[in-house]
């Protein structure tokens, strides 16, 4: 098959040279690219590569401890045993021994699906140990440790978890700790914080997350393309979170809880001069143990369905009509409106407002009372009249100055604001079809703490503080200080002013003396403590005609050098003087050491 007249020599023309030239050009390009990669860029790439391809396996930092003001432990950290799994190993073993994972699931009291789902949540952790179940008992954990060959891909680690010493008396205030949900995750990231595996989900655990969380440790591994660890690169030890010192006096807190036992109510006790909260109790409460290990749906629903609303904190989330305790605010409003409070009235047992009569049954009819007597006997006519004279604007202003109608700024999330009317609110309601505008009768009603008005026990404790401090009060806080676990440096939480009322000294003297009289000879005689002169005001707020009134008591002690301000509320329990004043009495006398005075006297 040869061509007869083919030339001896094939001409070396373009046809022959096309392919070799194309190959040469391409190879020249490759050589240039190799030069650029391996000579020019090489150093940079090597440097960058040394920084990438390292993953960190975070080690939970022990959460900060929480203690009360006397250093009594409230929340601690204990090492919990955690069964961990490595998905890649488990998956490989499942192919050979499919029954093994079932065995593990039975042992742990869960299902194979649940285990795999948990492990597969984060695909980047296929080759890292990932928690399967937290808080397993030692006997169970030891099975995994003693016979590792029986459970390939499973191991036991320990991790620092929250432990509460008292799970009931401070449940609302402390909150709880659990894995962050999306919302929590997002809000923490907005603050520039990478959430730990467990974060505070309510209460001060949530509020002080940044202080409590500490810095997680990291174990660093160089990884390959499939994120399989190939080399250990060292670790940073976790730094424990800061210790929180609460202003709460745990003994007082427990006492408040036990005094409220069986009732629906709240006790707030605070140091008026600083805003430090000594006790913040609400009943019915619940056992915070339900949160440990994640609350079950049924348990949560049961708490929600409980008619006593145990999840609801009555001390700072709830709001009630203040009743006669509000007469303190009415007094302030009147003074600010230029009323001298020197006058007396003769109360016929009612106050005429327009064509209506407002009842006053707190004392005998036809009695003549001055300011002191009126407060002592809680005369509705006197204070209704004061409110009317002061006018609604002055009344609202006094509320704002004292810190009512908006959250006080307590350092526990979820505080309620209470309710004080405003002109804008009224206009909105009229626009929505409220029949009447605002009448004098409404102002008079407000003057005795009824009507469209609601306050929380915490807010009323602030009102007591305001009087105790003679015109100023401070934002309440349950955390007194945070202590750095490494340096031991204590950082006190900031004291911030809440409200301010400018009034002359004679006014505060007169108001205090009237409130002392309330305890000495008035509606709060049940609050008397031998050897103590202290000030108080009762309230019995109507709310439901079919039920008893809400029983209020606010006060501060000692009257001339206040060390404690207190507010007690018991829902639908009757007269404040009968129900709440005795509770306040016990707490105040205990705090001031007067209930032990008999013992103290015998001790050297």
């Amino acid at each position: 098959m040869s061509v007869i007249h083919a030339p001896e020599q094939t001409p070396l023309d373009a046809r022959q040279l096309a392919v070799p030239v194309a190959v040469l050009v391409a190879f020249a390009g490759f050589a240039a690219k190799l030069w650029s990669l391996q000579v020019i860029q090489s150093a940079d790439v090597v440097e960058r590569a040394s920084k990438t391809a390292v993953v960190s396996d975070s080690r939970l930092a022990p959460r900060g401890r929480i203690v009360d003001r006397a250093d009594r432990p409230i929340a601690d950290v204990r090492e919990e045993l955690v069964v961990v799994g490595k998905l890649s190993v488990i998956k490989a073993d499942m192919r050979k021994n499919p029954e093994r994972i079932e065995e593990v699931a039975t042992l742990l009291g869960t299902t194979k699906e649940a285990i795999l789902k948990k492990l597969a949540q984060d695909q980047t952790r296929r080759d890292l140990w990932t928690p399967v179940i937290v808080g397993v008992p030692v006997e169970l954990a030891s099975k995994f440790v003693e016979a590792p060959e029986r459970f390939p891909g499973f191991d036991v680690r320990s991790t620092p978890m929250r432990k509460y010493w008292d799970t009931t008396s401070l449940a609302h205030v402390l909150g709880y700790v659990w894995t962050p949900n999306d919302k929590v995750d997002e809000s923490l990231r907005e603050q520039g914080i990478t959430p730990a595996d467990y974060v505070g989900r309510a209460g001060i655990e949530q509020q002080y997350e940044v202080d409590l969380m500490g810095t997680p440790g990291n174990e660093k591994f160089a990884v390959d393309a499939r994120r399989r660890p190939i080399r250990y690169m060292g670790s940073d030890e976790p730094v424990p979170g800061k210790k929180l010192v609460l202003s709460i006096d745990l003994e007082l807190q427990r006492m408040a809880n036990s005094l409220l036992e069986g009732k629906r109510g709240a006790v707030v006790a605070m140091i008026p001069s600083t805003g430090e909260v000594l006790a913040l109790a609400s009943t019915p409460n619940y056992d915070a143990k339900v949160w440990q290990g994640g609350i079950g749906k049924d348990a949560y629903q049961a708490l929600l369905d409980d008619p006593g609303k145990p999840l609801f904190d009555r001390a700072f989330q709830a709001s009630y009509a203040p009743g006669s305790t509000f007469k303190i605010i009415t007094s302030i409003a009147a003074l600010r409106a230029g009323i001298s409070l020197d006058h007396s009235i003769t109360c016929p047992g009612y106050l005429t407002v327009g064509r209506r009569h407002m009842k006053c049954e707190n004392h005998g009819a036809g009695v003549t009372l001055d300011f002191r007597e009126a407060l002592t006997k809680s005369c509705n006519s006197y204070f209704g009249d004061l409110a009317r004279k002061a006018g609604i604007d002055a009344m609202r202003q006094a509320c704002r100055d004292a810190g009512l109608g908006s959250p006080t700024g307590l350092d526990v999330p979820g505080e309620g604001s209470g309710f004080v009317t405003s002109q804008e609110w009224l206009e909105r309601m009229v626009a929505k079809g409220r029949k009447n505008g605002w009448y004098e009768g409404d102002t008079v009603n407000m003057g005795i703490g009824q009507g469209e008005l609601a306050v929380s026990p915490l807010q009323m404790a602030e009102v007591a503080s305001l009087v105790a401090n003679r015109g100023v009060n401070y934002k309440p806080r349950v955390v007194k200080a945070s202590v750095d676990p490494v340096t031991g440096k204590s950082t006190p939480t900031e004291q911030q002013q809440l409200g301010k009322v400018d009034a002359p000294d004679w006014f505060w003297d007169r108001l205090r003396s009237a409130m002392v009289n309330v305890v000495e000879s008035g509606t709060a005689r049940a609050a008397q403590v031998p050897g103590l002169t202290w000030a108080g005001k009762t309230g019995s707020a109507e709310n439901d005609p079919r039920k008893l009134t809400h029983a209020w008591f606010v006060g501060f002690a000692p009257a001339n050098d206040p060390k404690i301000a207190i507010c007690v509320l018991v829902e639908n329990a009757g007269h404040g003087g009968d129900v709440s004043a005795p509770i306040a009495k016990q707490i105040v006398s205990h705090y001031l050491g007067l209930d032990k005075s008999a013992n103290a006297a015998t001790n050297p």
Binding site: P11, A18, V19, A22, A53
Partner: protein
Amino acid sequence: MQADFGTIAKREPRRTADWWFFGATLALVMVGLMAINSVDQATGQHNAAKQGMFAALGIGVWFVFRKIPLSLWQWAANGLYVLNLGLLSSVLLFGHVVKGAKRWILVGSFQFQPSDLTMILVVLTLAAFFARRTEETGSWKTYGLSFLHVLPSVFLLLLQPHYGRAACVLAIWLVMALYAGVPWKTIGASIACLLALVGFALFTPGLFKGYHMDRISELFNKVVHGTSDTQGTGWQAAQSVKAISMGGLVGTGYGRGEQKAGRFIPEQHNDFVFSVIGEELGLIGSLLVLAVFLTFFFRMWYLGYNTRDPMRRLVTGGLLAFLSFHTVVNLSMVLNIGPVIGLWLPFVSNGGTALMTCMAAVGLADQPN
């Protein structure tokens, strides 16, 4: 461009193999085995041993193909043509799908990629076709018929889909047409038509598989915008150049590639095998390997040039087109200047059928006179 380098093209009848050619071949096979062995160290697989076995077998293949005279293939051309189409159809019928494409047939535990063999069969049948028509190679009829000759293969390859291979067949056809004496302007016009066709296909939705589209748009971004999606499709290629870059001038040393050890490049022993060489042997090693390739291609070209037999010239030219197209496209991919198209690096990439095909090509190109 006519010149006479008479001395380099001295025709002497010879019985022995072209030792430069065969030496370059063996050198490339050795480089491949070493590179695969190095990857094995990181992955714990045993590909090098298997590939070594294929290399030994490959020498047998080389020997056989060297001994079978081309006239026999020429005689059997029609049968080979049918065999080729049969193989390609059988993949579509019985093949199993790997990463969205049907390219493999399982024979026992042995994976067989018929499209590797197709390349040889296309070259042989097309050479036979052109050789039959030496007197009228310049005619439009010959040219048109030659296109119809390769069209079924191209079509079947597109169905797999294996666009790289289809393009390779077209490249072989163009080069062989060139060698056969088809006028330049015809070839130029064909290239223009093909490019227009590809362009049309690219903008017809649904014609290309998603991953190919991704790779093409990735290339487009790279070329037009200078950006690269280092997490998505471009990841493999980005990792590849990173590994090569880290090799620097002299490399990390054989077996000591960090990126290789990190298994950052999936399937590194296959299409991306050159990145191991780049990382471990550095610029010097890479250029040496390129030099061996150039030696190989030059000798192959010379063997085709240095023959009077049109069949031989056509076969050698077609095989040269086949292997050089593969090499250039593969290296462009590994160096991240071309699209990620699954064409292996001749002699070096892991793969039994690939190596056998290459060894058969060497045997065919270097027949005794």
